[in-house]
Amino acid sequence: MAEATANGLGQHGLGAGHAHEARTAAPHAEVHQEHPIKLYLVVWAWLFILSACSYMVDYFGLHGYLRWSLILIFMMLKAGLIVAFFMHMAWERLALTYAIILPPILVLVFVAMMVFEADYTLFTRLVFFGDGP
């Protein structure tokens, strides 16, 4: 917070000429993301393994809650690996990470609303049209 305040103070003046107002960073602040190639190959391999696993869920015809939970687990693991390592979110500034990661989680509220809504639609369809096609 202290840092944010300092920066907010330092940068709001329009050419007022404070000493600390000049941006300390270079005109183009580039944060280098240099990691060993091996890291990407390992993540790549894991994505292959997880994709193969989720395909196997279908191949072996698992069904019910086992199928759905496995699909969701493999999906979240893959998404996490891509965002954290390929998209470098694991090394980004927390302010950016939270600004990007938190809003999509709120979509779950929308999901819950639409589940109720869709159940109600199905209910009215069954009541008024019967359960035959």
Binding site: L14, E34, V57, A99, V111, A118, T121
Partner: protein
């Protein structure tokens, strides 16, 4: 926080509003604006695809008619037997591989290895084009089998509309990504980011960070496919 409100005098009206909103108050500090804006664009794109998957979920829950079994619909007849979802599985592996090559291209870009960066980006674009080609094959197959946005022979009519809209939008994203990959790869190959050559559209000098920002978009396309694969094809 009161001292934040003390600013230099603002012009009245819209100019004042614009001055307030653009008064150099950076929330993301050392994150460059290009990368931050790409992330914010991707966030908005997340909501677009989120709404598509939500509408698909709503349609699938609320229909009285059984949903077509994707495992059978997307099966391919290979060697005398039907292999379930095999084309989709191959497409998944192709897209993941393209993400892998893109991640390494970003890495070599920061090491100023122009040759490897450009080659890996071209490889990424080739894999992306392969993906789009396989998707075109899949669409052709389904359309000849009589799948239409308003109906199909296996069950719920909403299957077709959900399928064409979700995969169509994703395929469009992949296609746009391939085009931009080729543009950025050309810039890398030519050494634009080393010589400081100005871009033809923005007239600004590029940086090797452009490769990473391009990579963010590409990984996002892969990320969306992870969700489409799970919810549309496997569920």
């Amino acid at each position: 926080m009161t001292h934040i409100s003390q600013t230099t005098p603002r012009p009245a009206g819209w100019q004042g509003i614009a001055a307030d909103w653009s008064s150099d108050q950076r929330a993301f500090k050392n994150v460059s604006w290009g990368k931050a804006m790409m992330w914010i664009f991707l966030l908005s794109d997340t909501f677009i695809f989120g709404c598509f998957l939500l509408s698909y979920m709503t349609a699938r829950i609320s229909t009285r008619v059984p949903w077509p079994n994707p495992s059978e619909v997307f099966a391919l007849h290979i060697g005398g037997s039907n292999v379930p979802l095999i084309l989709i599985a191959i497409m998944t592996f192709v897209l993941i591989s393209s993400s892998g090559t893109m991640a390494m291209a970003v890495n070599f870009g920061y090491r100023r290895d122009r040759r490897k960066t450009a080659i890996l980006m071209l490889l990424t674009a080739a894999l992306g084009a392969t993906f789009v080609g396989m998707q075109a094959f899949e669409w052709t197959k389904l359309i000849t089998e009589g799948v239409r946005p308003w109906g199909n022979s296996w069950g719920a009519a909403q299957f077709g509309s959900s399928f064409f809209m979700i995969t169509g939008f994703h395929g469009t994203h992949v296609t746009i990504g391939v085009i931009f990959l080729l543009i950025v790869a050309r810039k890398v190959w030519r050494g634009d980011y080393d010589t400081g050559r100005r871009g033809f559209f923005t007239s600004r000098r590029g940086h090797y960070e452009s490769v990473e920002i391009m990579g963010l978009y590409w990984h996002f396309v892969d990320l969306v496919w992870v969700f489409i694969f799970a919810f549309f094809y496997l569920w």
